[in-house]
């Protein structure tokens, strides 16, 4: 069988991607460039000239970046433990950590309300022990939004980092110590260079997820708008089709720019970025091959 005939096996996939991915995206791009006077960038300009849209765009970027940075850093702790330590109940703990993975944003938003709403479980509990309902209604403030976003990023960040940290051989650290390296020296010279790349790719993964998240904001964000919410407003109210398309394309571009620039700076292939193998650097084609021992022989 020659290569062309083999590739024909992927025809259903090609068809599916063309119809469901490329054609709608192209159409969206086309719509976003159309305006009353023909073609132009006026829809995109609206994103910057109209205060509500500009603010939503800005909020989206800042919130996603903040959440991505926080989750990448905080989740180093569980990722390190899962990768390098053994403790009783590890499997169960790890399983619980993966739970929010498939929670859609609305569920996370609901959980945030029942915990941190005006009469949420946390303020009620604090009321009982301190006599004051601290944190009441914090779900609707920026802090609450950040915590809710963190909630669904925890499993993503933890698992991405864990698989990278697993490649780190603790023996190295032991060896370094026996050679007289202090804790900070080991951290600076050994561990930081090793975790830098996974941290960056975790940032990219979590940033993308936060940027597109919609359900949390739908429930929680009262005055703080994000771009996906503005798109929703455009479609439920009488929206400007061109503007709606421009917002969508802006989201797509933002996500892709972050993903691909991270990839360019860290030399990872796309597949690797998503897998966050954290061991890129080898040329893309061969670098993304998985060693035989690493796969899962059935």
């Amino acid at each position: 069988m020659n290569a062309a005939r083999k590739l024909a096996l992927s025809f259903p996939l090609i068809l599916l991607l063309a119809l469901l991915l490329l054609y709608p995206l192209a159409l969206l791009l086309g719509r976003s460039l159309q305006n009353a006077n023909g073609l132009g960038l006026s829809n995109y300009l609206l994103l910057f000239t109209e205060a509500p849209y500009r603010r939503a765009l800005f909020h989206s970027v800042i919130l996603s970046a903040l959440v991505a940075a926080l989750s990448s850093l905080i989740c180093l702790a569980p990722a390190w433990l899962f990768a390098n330590e053994n403790f009783p109940g590890k499997n169960l703990v790890r399983a619980i950590f993966t739970l929010p993975m498939s929670f859609s944003g609305i569920i996370v938003g609901f959980l945030a309300v029942i915990m941190l709403g005006r009469i949420g479980a946390v303020p009620q509990f604090l009321q009982r022990i301190t006599g004051h309902n601290y944190l009441a209604g914090s779900a609707y403030q920026l802090g609450g939004l950040v915590i809710a976003y963190l909630y669904f990023e925890i499993p993503r960040a933890t698992l991405t980092l864990e698989s990278a940290l697993r490649k780190f051989d603790p023996q190295l650290s032991v060896a370094a110590r026996s050679l007289g390296a202090g804790t900070w020296q080991r951290l600076r010279l050994l561990i930081l260079p090793l975790i830098w790349r996974p941290l960056v790719s975790t940032f990219a993964v979590t940033f993308t997820v936060s940027l597109g998240s919609f359900g949390v904001a739908l429930i929680l964000s009262k005055r703080f708008s994000v771009l996906p919410l503005e798109i929703f407003q455009q479609i439920t109210g009488y929206g400007n089709q061109g503007l709606m398309a421009a917002m969508s394309i802006a989201l797509v571009l933002l996500a892709c720019v972050i993903n691909y620039s991270v990839r360019a700076t860290s030399g990872l292939g796309a597949g690797q970025l998503q897998d966050a193998e954290g061991r890129g650097g080898a040329g893309p084609p061969s670098g993304r091959r998985i060693d035989a021992g690493e796969g899962t022989p059935a």
Binding site: P52, I119, I235, T236, G237
Partner: protein, 332 residues
Amino acid sequence: MKKLLLTALGLLAALVAHAQEKVVIQYDCIPNYANWGGVTAAYMKETGVRVPPDMKGSSAAMAALDAEKANPQADCAYYSGAIGYQAATKGLHQPYQPKGWEKIPDSLKDPEGKWWTVHTGHIAILVNKSALGGKPVPRSFADLLKPEYKGMVVYDDPTIQGTGFTFVYGINSIMGGGADMKAGFDYLKKLDANVVNYAKENSYNDLLRGEIPIWINADGNGLKAQWVDKAPIETVIASEGTVVMPLVMGMVAGAPHPEETKKYLDWCLGDSAQKLMAQSFFRPVMKVDLDADLQKQFPPESNYAKAITLPLNEMAANADAVKARWSKEIKR
């Protein structure tokens, strides 16, 4: 593996079976609003026809109908009056005169039958007393501006929900404003300081739990929370007055299930449906005999002495401009 396949086949069969089942699609059919949950459940029991819940607000329903004009998905829709009127002028409805048509007052229906009122409500201040934190129950719209209610007030986003639109439009008349809407917008701007949220969706649940202490919405929802759900809710008709909100239905142009829809629309004006709506404290458009107990639970008529009836045609004609202005000046 086999079991999974069988499950999938079973579900597929169920889906096909559902496709055979008779349905009427009503946009804006929120179970806890005006007792639509009870109304549709009773209709299912009586006729076997299912009317599934739908969470779109009035304006969202109109936008969806417009987007689907080429290929309509819905059979009928329910709106607050002005939005229903607007949808009819946009050509989204087909004329139909349901049974009992002649009994509806002329001001509450379109002469051709493109929309008609099923019940009416009034804009009221719904207050969850246990969530006020000891503050007094506000008695007027002016009270709502007091700093002590900061972060407690919610009203619906008027670009999505019809009730929110009726309030945003009507407050101008309540405040004695003119055609420039200045009095209304001035008030809304001041109110903004106390508003925690312009809700995109129905907030009944949040009011019940006390998550929202003060919700400006239809009086029926507050009365239902108070009498049916026994929550510590008080429904305040503001001392400045209120506006009447007719809630209307219309049959969608190109409705996919026309025969079933007509039967359903007839039924909605019938005795049993109208009574069910009254149980949610929306005032039936038809004359029905209500239980004395229920009658007593409605606030006294004197509360509504200052209720203003706004011309729907004017409201509809200005709707887009008012919504745009609200987005620009209030929501920002």
